[in-house]
Symmetry: C2
Subunit: 491 residues, 2 copies
Amino acid sequence: MQLYNSLSRRKEEFIPVKEGQAGVYVCGPTVYGHAHLGHAKSYVSFDVLVRYLRYLGYATTYVQNITDVGHLTDDGDEGDDKLAVAAQKEKKHPMALAEYYTRSFFEDMDQLNCVRPDISPRATGHITEQIELIQTLIDKGVAYEANGSVYFEVAKFEGYGKLSGRNTDEMISGTRVEVSPDKKSPTDFALWKKAEANHIMQWPSPWGRGFPGWHLECSVMSMKYLGVTIDIHGGGLENKFPHHECEIAQSEAANEAPFVKYWMHNNMVTVDGTKMGKSLNNFITLKEAFTGHHERLTRAYDPLAVRQLILNSHYRSPLDFSDAALYAALSGYTRITEAVQAVRKALAAATEGDLNPAIQAQLTAFKARFEEAMNDDLNTSVALSVLFDQVRLTHTLLSEGKATQATLHAIDDQFTLLGGDVLGIVKSSYNQAGAGTDDSLVDKLVTLLIDQRQHARKAKDFATSDLIRDKLAEAGVELKDTPNGTDWSLK
Amino acid sequence: MQLYNSLSRRKEEFIPVKEGQAGVYVCGPTVYGHAHLGHAKSYVSFDVLVRYLRYLGYATTYVQNITDVGHLTDDGDEGDDKLAVAAQKEKKHPMALAEYYTRSFFEDMDQLNCVRPDISPRATGHITEQIELIQTLIDKGVAYEANGSVYFEVAKFEGYGKLSGRNTDEMISGTRVEVSPDKKSPTDFALWKKAEANHIMQWPSPWGRGFPGWHLECSVMSMKYLGVTIDIHGGGLENKFPHHECEIAQSEAANEAPFVKYWMHNNMVTVDGTKMGKSLNNFITLKEAFTGHHERLTRAYDPLAVRQLILNSHYRSPLDFSDAALYAALSGYTRITEAVQAVRKALAAATEGDLNPAIQAQLTAFKARFEEAMNDDLNTSVALSVLFDQVRLTHTLLSEGKATQATLHAIDDQFTLLGGDVLGIVKSSYNQAGAGTDDSLVDKLVTLLIDQRQHARKAKDFATSDLIRDKLAEAGVELKDTPNGTDWSLK
């Protein structure tokens, strides 16, 4: 498998540190609000990475942190803690706020069918480890204490800038806010910040009471759970600098070993062509997308349609969300879903017999093309197009009505493997009548009504047969008469 | 409200530390396996406490910890860490194991309709705070370091034994395992344990690398989130000694202030009359109870039937789970549910008009009796009996068929308030056809079939009308002809 490594700026063959194993660390959310479309793009992208690594047979450990302290309002070393600000606004303890939004985050990720990380470590849960790393950096002479805070001395670490490609002059001119007089250089960044007495989140340390800098947690928690050199570190493009650059400096200065073999960055999202912003009325949370409660949306979207839209483009490409794009993704998602359901329905009535060798050959070719696309830096849009080819094959086969059980099984299995296990958009089972519906009961009731309609038609009581059809249509059940009987579907 | 205080061994009026506020800390699970019936008894009991405190208007903060380190296999100072043992068995990192079983725990608690705690702090997330408390205890001369471990010197704390009522001689004779030679007295207990080099969970400390003693986390986390003196500390009876006794010693020695105003302990559970034990085949997890996949169970139980069984008895009484008892609780739960559903259905067709003053008076009397029972140390079994009185009133009223909208609304509101908000067994809305079913679609389809059956009967086509009834019965839909038409229900 080739992955684009942001560090080398080219695609590279994936060769893990330990043969057969893969350690993946992805920067998780700062839990001070509900997850939005930007989170979906990042976590669906890396979810597919983890799923595909497992598909390829790597024993994969997936760590994704929860930031519940240290992320300041300026995304750098100044301002207030984002959690403390939100907690004050919502009149909650910051930890109660973190609890609430962490739960909300995982609810949304579950809806998007993202596999849960194996470990979801919290920044506040690793204060001891963070203090330990700071002490190591001080002992090695690359960090210094000043007035109760500790800073990383960028000039002492040769590789600073290698990920983002920025040089020190650019960094200095990019420093927007007033620089703390404690810093030796404006490029130095905080490892530990002295807390004012009234600061609600603070811990004791060798340098007095304070709290860790934002970048520190990821170095510490990836090291603790995945080792000194990890295989893959993922995150949004916006985290490349300063966040990831600082992680590299901390980890490599402390461990004197490479921090990450493959850096992967997903691109940003826009909404209706514009960067999301709360003042622009185009800031859409996932809960709003799933319920349709947003003025930019005309309907509620199935979470898997949101997922499909994300997979339609490459993770390294920007993605524009719009109602029209979501609707198109929903149509695509529905086409795949209907094909899978049709195969499974046909399976129940299919005859025994051998697997059709021509179909088998086509399935094998699809699988090869799918893997080829995924091996090319997770080209999910091409992988999806292969699934659509299989949808077309399915419809052709079903219209001929001669497929054996073995053939249909092979098709279903491949939908489940590639569309389900890897891409996460094919479910292992469906409620035919939609989410939250008892499939079999509705099926029995509709079948009984179809029988009654048939009974009425035979008796030439067309008033009754039409009434049944119309009433079913009102309830959202559409009938379709075919030579083999009456099929039904939900609108 | 009167609560039985395990410390004073009598019922006392609840007077919180801060007027109008209540801080509740409950010992949470050690996350090395799925939750079982014993967990259900404890967490449903304290869930009702929290719900009732909120009903009474107290601004309540509910903290329930997650133990993910330090709980040793002997439940004391010896043996291996329960998480490390399970992690080795399941070939996972202990933190991945904790993640998995924490999620499983909350899934089960959600099913039991337990309100989520405001904060669910983890022991591993508070190592810094635990080290800080140990240092305080050493500084105060009540703890000593020995060979890399730190022990609390029980002889230095006067009140030791005041909760459990044990004296030191009893405690010494109760010491089953070989006592560490580092301890000055067998009653001393570990605050910090030195870790062997290969111990997977260890942190740096002023006394070398190690891990915290089990009791420490609760002192630290209750103090951090609820203050030095907390209103209510809850837990299972089995935690009274040594766990809670040690918490008192640590907290009061450190803070020189009372630790807990009201200690509350729920009683134990048995299954078929015997203490639960893995070797006895009577160890039933909640997932097994909810799915019926256990040889002691004849069916799957609605989680709220499990909840109802717990509320049928007092939290301070032992509770015996059996298939028969669960089945009886299910019947009771179903009676309440059906009455609430009947009221809500009748509401749709009810006429406008005043609230019947006689009914209003009865509802007020029910509410007073309900509160009286709950104010008497949470007597939920009497509170439930009041709900059943309201069920009877409801059926009488509905059979007369004259209740106004206002009257039915008053009944529904009281069911929702007392049975829902406080006891957690009445839902704000139901899927008539059971969990996971699209209520309105099933209702429309069944209504259409009832119409068809009526049509057939009018045409004296009894073969058809009987067929519809029989097929519906096969699908689990039971018809009941009444003077006002045909009602239906799901079996």
